[in-house]
Amino acid sequence: MDAVLRSPADGLTGSQDPDSRAVSMKDVEKTYPIHHGSVTVFTGVNIDIRFGEKVGILGRNGAGKSTLIRLISGTEQPTRGKVTRTMSVSWPLALGGGFQGSLTGIDNVRFISRIYGLDPAQAIDYVKDFSELGKYMNEPVKVYSNGMRARLAFAISMVVDFECFLIDEVIAVGDQRFREKCQTELFERRADRAMIVISHDPDFVRTHCDRAVVIHDKRLHEFPALDEAYSFYHEHIA
C-alpha cells in the first residue's frame, strides 16, 4: 500500500537539482483588511527551508502561524515580498480545508487527483484503504463526523507525492491507532521530505523537528536549535 501515484512536479521552477530544492520567503509582509484600516500579521519575513528539513513553527494563538503556512503553500498571496518554491509543496494539511462539503468523499478524491494530475481510480483505492471510510466514501462530506473528515483529509494528502508537507495541527486527530498509522505514513515512509509543522505540543515538535521558528511581535525569529527556540518562546510568550 504505497503511495506511488507520482504527480508531475508542478509548482516547480528552475532546475531539478536536489540540493537546490527549497521554499524561500523574501521580505514577506501580510496584512488583512479589518473593519477600520488593516492589521499587519507579520513583516520582514525571510526564511529558507530546504528539502529534508523539519521545521517547527511556534507562537501564541493568533500570532500568524497558519497564515505563514498558507503563504508558503501559495494558498494565499503575500501583501509584500516574494515566496519562491523550487520543490513541490503540499496544501496546508489542516482540519477541514480543501473539501467541498456537498460532494462525496469519492468525488473529492477525484477532484484532487484531477488537479494534481493523478489517476483517479488508483487514488480512490488508496484513500478508501487508508481512511477506512468504507461505504461512507459515497456520502457527501458534510455528513461526516470531524474524525471521519480528518481521516479523509489525511488520506487524500498522502496520495500526492509532495516534497514538502505543511502540517497544521492535523496529526492530533482520530483515535490512537489511526494517529499511529498517520505518524508511520508521514514521518517514517516520507522521512526524507521537508516538513513544516505547527503544533502546540512541545513533545511533538521535539520528536519530529530539527529546528524551529517563533513568530512574535510581527517578526519571525529563526533559531538553529530547538532548545534556543523554546527558551526564547518561554521567555517572551509563555
Binding site: T75, L103, I115
Partner: protein, 264 residues
C-alpha cells in the same frame, strides 16, 4: 527562452487540468446525479427557448413583417442565454469555492472560466439541438451561411464571457454589483436585439441601439441564418473592441481580488 516556453507549457497543462477538474465538479454540484443529471445543462435552456419561440410564433401577426418568425425567435432567445446567465454565474462565485482554493493551482480565473465554459456548452448545445429539431420538422430553413452563424455565435459567447469576467471580480469588491446586475439585465434584454431587427427601428433608435455590443453579434448571426430575408446591420469590430476592453478591465480587477482571497 527554451526554459520560458517550457514553463509556459507546464503552466498551460496545469491550468487545463484544473479547469477540467472544476468543470466536472461543477456539473456534479449543479445538476447532481439524480433523474436526468447533467442533461439539464442543455434541457433547461432548451425549455426556455422552446417556450419563447412557441409564444412568438403564435403571436406572429404582431410583428407584421415577412421575417421567418421561428428562426428569429430561436436565434434571439438562444443568444440571450449566452450573455444573461454568464454574469449570474460569476457574481459571488468565489465564496462558495473558497475551500477549493486551498490548492495553490486553483485560481480565481479558473473558477470563473470553468463556470463560463459550462454556460457556453449548455447554451450552444441547446441552440444546436433546437436548430436541428426545427430544421428536421421543416419549421426552419437550414442556415444560409453556416460559417457566419458560427462566427456570430462565437462573438456573442466572447462578449458574454468578457462581460461576466468584468462583473464577477467587481461583485467580490462591492455587493452593489449583484443588486444592480439583475435589474440591468432586465433592461438590456429588450435592447439586446432578441426581439427586434435593427433595420425595423427608426433611424434615431438605431443609433443608440447599436451602442449595445450584443446587437451586432446577433445581427451577424441572423444574417447567417436567414440573411436574404432582411438587411442586417452590424459592426463586429466595434463589438470585439468593447468585449476586449471589458475583458481587460475584468483581468485587472481579478489581479486585485486574487491577492485578497482568503481560502477557508
Amino acid at each position: 527562452m527554451k526554459q520560458a516556453t517550457h514553463d509556459f507549457l507546464r503552466s498551460l497543462s496545469i491550468q487545463r487540468r484544473v479547469i477540467y477538474a472544476l468543470f466536472m465538479r461543477e456539473i456534479i454540484t449543479r445538476f447532481g446525479r439524480h433523474n436526468i443529471g447533467f442533461l439539464w445543462l442543455f434541457v433547461e435552456p432548451m425549455i426556455f427557448t422552446l417556450g419563447i419561440t412557441a409564444l412568438w410564433t403564435a403571436m406572429k401577426s404582431v410583428h407584421g413583417s415577412n421575417l421567418p418568425i421561428t428562426p428569429f425567435a430561436l436565434t434571439g432567445y438562444s443568444s440571450v442565454l449566452l450573455w444573461r446567465n454568464m454574469p449570474v454565474r460569476t457574481i459571488a462565485a468565489i465564496p462558495p469555492n473558497l475551500s477549493l482554493m486551498f490548492h495553490r493551482n486553483v485560481r480565481v480565473l479558473d473558477i470563473y472560466l470553468s463556470r463560463l465554459l459550462l454556460e457556453v456548452v449548455g447554451a450552444t448545445m441547446s441552440f444546436i439541438f433546437l436548430s436541428i429539431l426545427f430544421i428536421s420538422l421543416g419549421m426552419v430553413d437550414p442556415p444560409e451561411d453556416l460559417l457566419k452563424v458560427v462566427w456570430g455565435w462565437t462573438m456573442l459567447a466572447y462578449n458574454g464571457m468578457s462581460m461576466a469576467l468584468m462583473i464577477g471580480p467587481m461583485s467580490e469588491r462591492s455587493e452593489l454589483v449583484d443588486k444592480i446586475w439583475h435589474p440591468l439585465a432586465y433592461l438590456i434584454f429588450p435592447l439586446s436585439g432578441a426581439a427586434f431587427i435593427v433595420e425595423a427601428l427608426p433611424a434615431e433608435a438605431q443609433k443608440y441601439v447599436l451602442y449595445i455590443p450584443m446587437v451586432h453579434g446577433l445581427e451577424y448571426l441572423r444574417e447567417g441564418y436567414f440573411g436574404s430575408r432582411f438587411h442586417a446591420i452590424h459592426d463586429l469590430d466595434y463589438m470585439a473592441i468593447v468585449s476586449t476592453v471589458m475583458l481587460i478591465i475584468g483581468l485587472l480587477q481579478m489581479r486585485i481580488v486574487a491577492r485578497q482571497v482568503v481560502p477557508e
